[in-house]
C-alpha cells in the first residue's frame, strides 16, 4: 500500500539528552500545519511509533534517537530499526522493521546509521534516506554549563545550531522542494552558522572554534541515499520564505540574519 500523501510522522523521544533535539523539532508543527500538511508527533515510545506509522501510513518519517551503524534506537534507547551487522564496537544480531519504510522517505537524526542501516533501508524499499555516517554532535558546552533545551546559542553553549541545520532539510521538504534541494539549503544554513562562528558576530565566543568545527563535521558526514530528486511533500498552501543568505564573493555571507531568522 502506497503511503498517504502529505502525512509526516515525527518520532521525538526525550530521554538520554534527546529533549535537546526533540524540543526543537516540535517547532516544525506550525510550519507543517500552515502548509496544509498532516504532522503526527509521537513521544518516541516503540508502541506509539508503530501505531503512528501503521495507522497514518506517512510519506515522511523524521526520527530523533541514538544510533550506531546497524541500529536506530527510540525512547529509552530501545532498538527500533536495526539490521544484522557490526562495527568496531557494536554488534546487532537481529533485523527490526526494515520493511516498515517501504516507499517512504526516512530521515534519522542520529549517529552512524548512514554507514549501514541507511543502505539496508533503501535495499528493503525505502525511497530515500537521510542520516549521518559518523557521530552527529548536537551540543557543545563549556564544562559545567547546561542550558535548558531549545535555548538559542550563547557564548558558553550551543545546543541549537546543529539541530537547526538538520531541521532545515525538513523545512525545505515542507515547502515542496526535492530532497536534494533541501539538503543544499541546509548546507547553506550550516555555512551561515560557520561564518558567524569563524568571522562573524559570534567569533569571540568561548565555544566558537568548537561550534564551527562540529558544524562542518556534521555536514561532512551527512549521508543521503535513494531517490534524492523526489519531492516527498506537496504543500497545499505555498508559504514564501524570505531569502536568509545571499552569495557574496568568496562564499555565502549572512545578510541581516536577525531579520530573517525563524
Amino acid at each position: 500500500m502506497m503511503p498517504e500523501d502529505n502525512v509526516i510522522v515525527l518520532i521525538l523521544p526525550v530521554g538520554h539528552g534527546l529533549e535537546y533535539c526533540s524540543k526543537l523539532l516540535e517547532r516544525l508543527r506550525a510550519g507543517y500545519l500552515l502548509r496544509g500538511l498532516r504532522p503526527i508527533f509521537t513521544d518516541g515510545v516503540e508502541g506509539s511509533n508503530d501505531y503512528a506509522i501503521e495507522f497514518f501510513n506517512p510519506t515522511v518519517v523524521y526520527a530523533v534517537g541514538h544510533g550506531e551503524c546497524c541500529v536506530y534506537t527510540c525512547e529509552c534507547m530501545t532498538p527500533y530499526i536495526s539490521t544484522i551487522g557490526s562495527c568496531e564496537k557494536y554488534t546487532c544480531s537481529e533485523e527490526l522493521r526494515l520493511e516498515f519504510f517501504n516507499e517512504r522517505y526516512v530521515h534519522l537524526l542520529s549517529c552512524h546509521t548512514g554507514k549501514l542501516l541507511g543502505h539496508k533501508l533503501i535495499e528493503h524499499g525505502a525511497r530515500a534516506y537521510v542520516g549521518y555516517s559518523d557521530e552527529f554532535i548536537y551540543g557543545v558546552a563549556v564544562e559545567g554549563f547546561e542550558p535548558p533545551p531549545a535555548s538559542p546559542p550563547n557564548p558558553m553553549a550551543d545546543f541549537y545550531s546543529f539541530v537547526d541545520c538538520d531541521m532545515e532539510i525538513e523545512r525545505g521538504i515542507m515547502n515542496g522542494r526535492s530532497i536534494r534541494a533541501s539538503v543544499e539549503s541546509a548546507r547553506r544554513k550550516a555555512l551561515n552558522y560557520i561564518y558567524r562562528y569563524s568571522y562573524g558576530d559570534w567569533r569571540d565566543w568561548t565555544i566558537a572554534p568548537y561550534a564551527s568545527m562540529f558544524l562542518e563535521h556534521n555536514f561532512n558526514c551527512l549521508t543521503c541515499l535513494g531517490d534524492l530528486d523526489w519531492t516527498p511533500l506537496k504543500p497545499k498552501l505555498a508559504v514564501s520564505i524570505a531569502p536568509r543568505i545571499a552569495p557574496i564573493a568568496l562564499g555565502l555571507l549572512p545578510l541581516s540574519f536577525e531579520l530573517f531568522k525563524r
Binding site: H16, G17, L18, Y20, C21, V64, G65, H66, G67, E68, V71, T73, M77, K89, Y90, L109, S110, C111, H112, Y132, D134, E135, F136, I137, Y138, G139, V140, A141, V142, E143, F159, S198, Y199, R203, D204, T206, I207, A208, P209, Y210, M213, F214, E216, H217, N220, C221
Partner: protein, 129 residues
C-alpha cells in the same frame, strides 16, 4: 610589523592563542608571532616567520601540518575545555579527555576534526596579506 598586527587582530580571540606555525623546534600561535616580532624586529627568526606567513607555509619538513592541527586541537581543549554531546548509542557525551584521546588515537571523529583544522590553518595563514 603592521601587517602582522593587522592579521592577528583580524582573527577571533581564541584562534590567536592556537598554534599555526612550527619553526625552530616550537609551535607558534599568532600571538607568539606578534610578540616575538615586536620584541625582536631584526632577529633572523622574525624574518623567517614573516617569510613563512607570506609564502603561506605552516611548517618546513617535519612536523607535518597534521601535527600542527593535532597540537591546535589539544591546546584548544587544554585552554578551553568543553563537553560534547552526540547521538551515539555507545558514546553520548565526550569529556575533554575523551576528545583528546580521540585526537591522539585517530578515531573517526578525531580524524575528521584534524582534517578540518588542517583546512583552518591554511585559511588563517591565507588571511595574512
Amino acid at each position: 610589523m603592521e601587517r602582522v598586527r593587522k592579521w592577528v587582530y583580524s582573527l577571533p580571540a581564541v584562534e590567536r592563542e592556537l598554534p599555526i606555525i612550527f619553526l625552530e623546534g616550537r609551535y607558534w600561535s599568532p600571538n607568539d608571532i606578534l610578540s616575538f616580532i615586536e620584541a625582536n624586529p631584526n632577529h633572523p627568526i622574525s624574518a623567517q616567520l614573516l617569510r613563512m606567513l607570506s609564502m603561506r607555509i605552516a611548517a618546513i619538513g617535519s612536523p607535518s601540518i597534521t601535527e600542527i592541527a593535532k597540537m591546535r586541537l589539544l591546546t584548544l581543549l587544554e585552554k578551553h575545555p568543553v563537553k560534547v554531546y552526540t547521538l551515539g548509542v555507545l558514546r553520548r557525551e565526550l569529556s575533554p579527555e575523551d576528545l583528546k584521546r580521540e585526537i591522539m588515537l585517530g578515531g573517526s571523529l578525531g580524524r575528521s576534526l584534524i582534517s578540518i583544522q588542517e583546512r583552518r590553518i591554511a585559511e588563517i595563514i591565507g588571511r595574512f596579506r
